[in-house]
């Protein structure tokens, strides 16, 4: 009888230290985490030895897929709304409230203006499928600015402190990058942050 009693006492393990540690860990992760921004296409950036960090806010992200599609987005939702307002006003596009709601939920802009309305009317699930086939065109409109430039200009108007961060896939042909950069240069945007992975210099 006595033996059984002792065994019973030993089964209980004090969980308190463990839960303490876990709470700490949880707090750490919650405070330090910035959520992965969903991107319309997966992009594997090349590696560089540069150790400069990407600024956290006021960034205009330009994403170029391996196929050369261009997507654009900012970290600030208010700026995105202002951009949408400017561009739709300029091209006389009217969007209903559902479409605007869908736009707000989207992380990046990637639809050409002629299909923007129909794209935003789709179901959110269909949108993520559809956007992989789209991309902002860089062809100039009647010899003027291209849609891509219009978006960048609208972003610059919405927030003059924006820094341009370019994220391209390692396999993206330079032709596309050149085209995009020369369009940016035409607008006097000459300073970029090229987003890369860290690697150490081979000795």
């Amino acid at each position: 009888m006595g033996k059984i009693k002792i065994q019973k006492k030993d089964v209980w393990i004090d969980m308190t230290p463990m839960s303490d540690v876990m709470t700490l860990l949880l707090c750490f992760f919650m405070l330090t985490s910035t959520f992965l921004q969903p991107e319309p296409v997966t992009v594997n950036t090349p590696s560089s030895v540069s150790e400069i960090k990407v600024p956290e806010n006021n960034v205009l992200n330009i994403l170029v897929s391996p196929k050369g599609q261009i997507f654009i987005g900012t970290d600030n939702k208010n700026d995105m709304n202002a951009m949408l307002q400017t561009v739709t006003d300029k091209f006389g596009i009217t969007l209903n409230s559902t479409q605007i709601k869908h736009f707000r939920e989207d992380a990046m802009i990637g639809a050409p203006l002629n299909v923007l309305g129909s794209y935003l009317s789709l179901d959110p699930e269909k949108m993520t499928e559809q956007i992989q086939t789209l991309g902002i065109p860089t062809d100039s409109i009647d010899g003027g600015m291209s849609e891509f430039q219009e978006w960048v200009k609208a972003a610059r108007e919405a927030n003059p402190d924006l820094k341009v961060a370019i994220k391209c896939d390692a396999t993206t042909p330079y032709k596309v990058v050149k085209r995009m950069m020369s369009e940016l240069q035409d607008m006097n945007e000459n300073r970029y942050q090229l987003i890369t992975n860290l690697k150490t210099a081979e000795e």
């Binding site: 209980w12 969980m15 308190t16 463990m18 839960s19 876990m22 709470t23 860990l25 949880l26 992760f29 919650m30 330090t32 985490s33 910035t34 959520f35 992965l36 950036t45 090349p46 590696s47 560089s48 030895v49 540069s50 150790e51 400069i52 960090k53 990407v54 600024p55 170029v64 961060a165 994220k167 391209c168 896939d169 390692a170 396999t171 993206t172 042909p173 330079y174 032709k175 990058v177 050149k178 950069m181 020369s182 940016l184 240069q185 035409d186 006097n188 000459n190 300073r191 970029y192 942050q193 090229l194 987003i195 890369t196 992975n197 860290l198 210099a201 081979e202 000795e203």
Partner: protein, 213 residues
Amino acid sequence: MAKKKASKQNKKNTRVDFTPMVDMMMLLITFFMLCTTLSKPQAMQLVMPSNDQNMTEEDKSVTKASHTITIFLGGNDKIYHIDGLPNYEDPSCIKETTWGKDGIRKVLINHTTEEGINPVAKIMVAKQKLDEKKVSTNMSDEAYQKELSELKNGKIDGEKIPTLTIIIKPLDTASYKNMVDALDEMQICSIGKYVIDKVSPNDEKLLQQRGIK
């Protein structure tokens, strides 16, 4: 007796089962660990020349031929370089090299100017000294950056040496990775003056004669 019994019961009630809470926390931690980006991506600063057509000839700074290297980035991860100014009559001035420390980096480091010095090698040695000094004397980051930019401008211990100017010309067939790698070499070799330029019609002719795509 009755009192004692009551106190005993009280004592037993204080033990709370933490297991469900711990389970929940485990779940939450896994969720956060999977959904977060801990290592922030690195960025590379790049300043491109302005496309302004109104630039006069006087605004363009001219460098000596022996202080210039032109790098062509071709398709299929090929890399070519011209030491000095391109000679458009002679396609053999384009030399092929490879990526990495035995290829293009060696070319840059071993390049000798008309003054008979290797500026890149000198600057790299000076930078290494600066790095050591930074570690040993706890130099502030600001002061380090200031000295580094002076080094890149060719000022070593108050003495001015000529620096190289690198012109990077990626062909349309090159990939973005090639461009980043080329910029990387500039950083590794502490080269202050480099520019990404377009391939001019003359260059195109020259490359065609060499059969470079």
